[in-house]
């Protein structure tokens, strides 16, 4: 299969990107300054991420669509206000996670942002579940960029006036060069920021304008260190079909109202796990010292019993030390529990900690 390129490929090359193949796309892992500098620049200033490989699924419909989507997602979509977004999951009947996603109510239906590696399969599953009753477009004609960091609002607002008035997890249509762009105030870094859906042939121009205003392109490498410091899950690592949202410690994302009624895919298991508890659960893990415990590192308790595994681990540039998350047996999931991580044959001390590792105050409501 041919490797796909995003519409910003030329710009990535102009900015000396190092590329990797990711989910069938040629994507920039870093630029000339490197992951640590890119990470810090995003935290202190403003970074632009090309996330055009992600799926932008538009589903068109009204009241019926809301009812049908509520059978799939554990959300109160009827009450969700126009242009507001929610984090959710596509689950199987055992509440295993096919994908995690952001769903936004638009004036024509819903926009769902899907992971690149999952989008084709998600589309197939949703099409089947919705019995082809609604028009569904996995839109390849649009690009998606994120701008993240404390200066993002000011910079983006200079180019697209009005975005600074958006509230966190809400969006709207704006115009750029007479093109309709859909912008939400959201992101994946723990910083204030926006995601912008724009026609492929205008994304290069928009991105170059944002760079001219002082923002910089940031690669997938820093995207990973930023999201891990922010305690956010990466599908295929921290989430997969063998894990449920309750095990993933994401029950905050499940509507309480919907749980009381059940009646969504996976609801039996979710309700059972909420009542009875789970045997394993996702936690933050802070290694002592500088040793980095990466994905698949085994976790042991103080009696040398294997109690879990790391699902994401790296060096956090803002924390200035190693950070990780993983799944442990429930009884060892309490904050400050001492554990040991087996790295290159040796056991290194670490402790269970609360997430995120790095916290900043978001802009929640500006109005």
């Amino acid at each position: 299969m041919e490797i796909k390129k995003t519409s910003l490929y030329q710009l990535h090359q102009d900015c000396n990107a190092k590329f990797v193949e990711f989910a069938g796309y040629q994507m920039p892992i870093q630029y000339s300054e490197g992951i640590v500098e890119e990470h810090k620049f995003t935290r202190n200033h403003s970074g632009i991420f090309d996330v055009s490989h992600m799926g932008q699924l538009f589903i068109y419909g009204g009241e019926d669509l809301i009812k049908d989507l509520e059978k799939i997602f554990p959300l109160d979509l009827k009450k969700l206000r126009l242009n507001h977004s929610k984090y959710s999951f596509l689950m199987d009947k055992d509440a295993g996670i096919h994908d995690d996603l952001i769903i936004t109510k638009t004036n024509e239906g819903f926009l769902i942002i899907l992971n690149a590696a999952c989008k084709e399969n998600d589309f197939k599953i949703l099409k089947e579940l919705l019995k082809e009753k609604y028009k569904m477009v996995l839109d390849e004609s649009r690009s998606l960029i994120a701008i993240q960091g404390p200066k993002s609002s000011e910079i983006l607002n200079e180019v697209i006036n009005g975005v600074k008035d958006l509230n966190f997890m809400s969006g709207n249509w704006f115009t750029f060069e007479n093109q309709k762009v859909y912008i939400t105030r959201s992101g994946y870094t723990g910083e204030d920021g926006f995601e912008i859906s724009i026609a492929n042939n205008f994304v290069d121009k928009l991105t170059r304008e944002l760079i001219n205003k002082g923002s910089k392109l940031i690669g997938l490498g820093a995207r990973d260190t930023l999201r891990l410091e922010a305690g956010l899950c990466l599908y295929g690592h921290d989430l997969d079909k063998d894990k449920t949202p309750v095990e993933a410690n994401l029950k905050w994302a499940i509507s309480k109202e919907r749980i009381s009624k059940g009646d969504f895919i996976g609801s039996d298991i979710i309700i059972k796990q909420l009542n009875d508890g789970v045997s394993k659960i996702r936690v933050g893990i802070k290694p002592e010292g500088r040793i980095i415990a990466r994905e698949k590192t085994k976790i042991f308790n103080q009696s040398d019993v294997h109690i879990g595994e790391i699902t994401s681990g790296t060096f956090g540039p803002s924390v200035n030390g190693p950070v990780a998350m993983g799944y442990v047996e429930n009884e060892f999931s309490k904050k400050n529990t001492k554990v040991f991580l087996e790295v290159r044959g040796k056991k290194h001390p670490a402790s269970i900690c609360s997430l995120p590792f790095y916290k900043k105050s978001y802009v929640k409501g500006v109005n």
């Binding site: 992951i35 500098e37 490498g221 990973d224 990466r294």
Partner: protein, 126 residues
């Protein structure tokens, strides 16, 4: 002092009498990206030619460090353990990894000179 020699695993080695100073090349650091962790062999331990003698980790991945010659570890550079970013800044001088009292001078003959290494590095990264 002899010339600096290079290994296919991207280490450099500088011999002064029977004491060899070993580190990783600038080319290696460019391939690795930002180095955020370094582990060195223990002082007094023996290492064998082409065996592992440490680890470096970038934000992306861990990589073994090999020793291009055999010998006894007589010194290690604690400064790069305390601040691994020094390895990116000055890999072929102040950010050396360890010093060996070498066993067999002839092992040096199997290594590349600078021109050969530069050519090798260019070919393997293409």
């Amino acid at each position: 002092m002899s010339e600096v020699k290079y290994s296919k695993e991207h280490e450099w080695i500088k011999l002064d009498g029977d004491i060899a100073t070993i580190g990783i090349t600038k080319h290696a650091t460019e391939m690795l990206g930002d180095i955020v962790f370094a582990e060195l062999p223990e002082k007094g331990s023996s290492v064998e030619k082409d065996g592992t003698a440490g680890v470096v980790e970038s934000t992306k991945a861990a990589s073994d460090v090999y020793t291009p010659v055999s010998g006894e570890v007589v010194d290690t550079n604690q400064a790069i353990v305390d601040d691994p970013s020094k390895i990116n800044q000055d890999p072929e001088d102040s950010a050396w990894f360890f010093k060996l009292k070498i066993k067999d001078q002839s092992e040096m003959d199997t290594l590349m000179n600078k021109d050969d290494y530069d050519k090798f590095a260019k070919e393997t990264s293409a």
